[in-house]
Symmetry: C2
Subunit: 181 residues, 2 copies
């Protein structure tokens, strides 16, 4: 009896996991925006920067800012794609409050970038691949869902995750092959 | 016998706590730098920004960058004093790696700023007052000592803590009196 229930539950969990993944990935309304963020990420590699791209959409879903990583290009330690996109969006609106806006980014934000998104009061963070090393939206830390902060954006994960992850993996593999830094 | 040991240990802990506090505050080699950061913090209020100031010292203790909060002045959600000082220091050195540098700041950094300091590889973070609401160097989070990050700066706390804390408290009390935002 116990074994039957256990097997039944296990099957249900597998379906839930597969279904969640399917909804997250293939039916996401953010796939088009993520494709644009991927294009920004690809541009970042020209300066030797890690291929990460970000966009900010306003309340109507219109792109108001986009950026790729520029740390190496500008030698600015804070020039991650998310920070640059948030700063550009605030400049466009003339207001640091980005209420109603959505931050789209190809890789799960690090603590600095997740902190910046919370401070900017974005309504939603949508990311592609999970950041297994420094992710702060569910992987290692979960700042957007932390009750100690005064604003908690919604988080949507896994949009075009494979494409986003491959960008970073290919870039790193290329560096290792070249024996680079 | 057990009670005697317990009392003895308790006395020792009280002395260690008092001595640590004394060393942190009155004999700190960072008091002079913190006084300069306080001056930056005071300037920030001109634009209605929260009085927080930051400096970056190089390996020899020379000030290479300083900044006050500029979020309201520039309408940039990431324009905290620490981020601005780190960006300015990297510009001065022409390198985003701030190895050997010390970040001095009047208030314990938030998650975004603590994350930025770790990313910039500063050797040390020295702060004045504890940030009871959003502190990420020991109060609510402890990012600089988090083993999941690839760099862990030393943290020195409580330098001119009372002066630094009073700046923020007086500013907030003033806003409340004026019935401001």
């Amino acid at each position: 009896m116990f074994r039957r229930w256990r097997n039944c539950l296990a099957r249900e969990f597998i379906w839930i996991a597969l279904y969640s993944r399917r909804v997250d990935d293939h039916a996401s309304p953010y796939r088009e925006a993520m494709a644009l963020a991927i294009a920004e990420a690809e541009l970042a590699t020209i300066s030797g920067d890690l291929p990460i791209g970000a966009l900010v959409l306003d309340e109507s879903g219109v792109v108001i800012a986009k950026a790729g990583n520029r740390r190496e290009a500008t030698q600015d330690p804070t020039a991650h794609a998310e920070v640059l996109a948030l700063r550009a969006a605030a400049q466009v609106r003339g207001d640091w409050h980005l209420d109603g806006c959505t931050l789209i980014v190809t890789l799960e934000p690090c603590p600095m970038c997740a902190g910046a998104a919370v401070l900017a009061r974005v309504e939603r963070i949508v990311f592609g691949a999970w950041n297994e090393e420094y992710g702060a939206c569910g992987s290692h830390w979960d700042l957007p869902r932390d009750r100690r902060l005064n604003h908690r954006p919604e988080v949507v994960s896994g949009v075009l995750a494979e494409e986003c992850g491959n960008l970073v993996r290919d870039f790193m593999a290329n560096i290792r092959t070249q024996g680079g830094k």
